[in-house]
């Protein structure tokens, strides 16, 4: 009887540990739509909203003007919030306009939890440095 209890306890512990370690990694693409204006600079805050998101990596965007990883605080790694920002002083014809992927954030999530995150743009500017209005949206990358 005692042995059965011991086996049961070990089984439960292993199960619990397994659940805790079960995590998945995802990539979230961040798009900014600047309409017909060239995007020269942006700053936004990405934040997980359900407590299960951990930021594990940040990479640059698709356009050559923003291909380098943006500025961010290294303290944001393993946390659920990061401020990213980038700029490019090139002329308008070398900058993206319309909808463009400006960065990708890699996150770690607990398995079984629905991903929940938001992004808020705090600043965006055109080539002259003046603020412009942009839209941001997040798209979770699917396996290719």
């Amino acid at each position: 009887m005692k042995r059965a209890w011991l086996i049961f306890i070990i089984f439960c512990a292993v199960k619990l540990c397994g659940q805790e370690l079960a995590t998945s990694f995802r990539a979230v693409d961040i798009f900014i739509d600047s309409g017909n204006q060239a995007l020269a600079a942006y700053q936004l805050t990405f934040r997980g909203t359900n407590g299960s998101v951990k930021i594990v990596g940040i990479e640059g965007g698709e356009h050559s003007a923003f291909a380098e990883p943006p500025y961010y605080d290294p303290e944001a790694m393993q946390k659920d919030r990061v401020i990213i920002a980038a700029f490019n002083t090139a002329s308008a014809d070398q900058l993206p306009s319309g909808r463009t992927r400006i960065a990708t954030i890699h996150i770690q999530m607990q398995s079984g939890q629905a991903p929940a995150y938001i992004a808020q743009v705090s600043a965006a500017a055109g080539t002259d440095g003046k603020r412009i209005s942009v839209k941001v949206n997040l798209v979770e990358r699917t396996a290719r």
Binding site: A41, Q43, P70, Y71, V82, I83, F87, T89, A123, G129
Partner: protein
Amino acid sequence: MNDDQNRNEQIPDTLTEKLREVASKTTILVPASVDGAVLAQAKAHFVQISRERSKILRISWLAAAACVALLAIFGIRHLEHGRYERADIDHSGHVDILDAFALARRIQQGSQQGVDVNGDGAVNKADVDAIAAQAVKLKRGV
């Protein structure tokens, strides 16, 4: 009546002289126990004075150290605030990537109006990076 009484109460000069002579010749013997007691009390008194002085000195040093620490804290805060104000290139009231962008544009245009944010004596990409780093810095507890 009173004058007569006062005259009678005065010690005669001859007697005073004699008494002085005797006093100068006589050595007053103080017992060793009394001498020791007086010495002990005197020592205790001076020890207490010295303790009080060292206590005051210690308090003064502590107060001075506290003042130095406060000055250092306020100095650093003032310095950081000064740096933050300098980093606000576009005077928007807060530091964001647009400040770094503005400085980068000035540097690209060869303007001498740049701000030496990091205090290294030169206005260059390091200052732009310093502003950008400040813009994306996460505040604790937020």
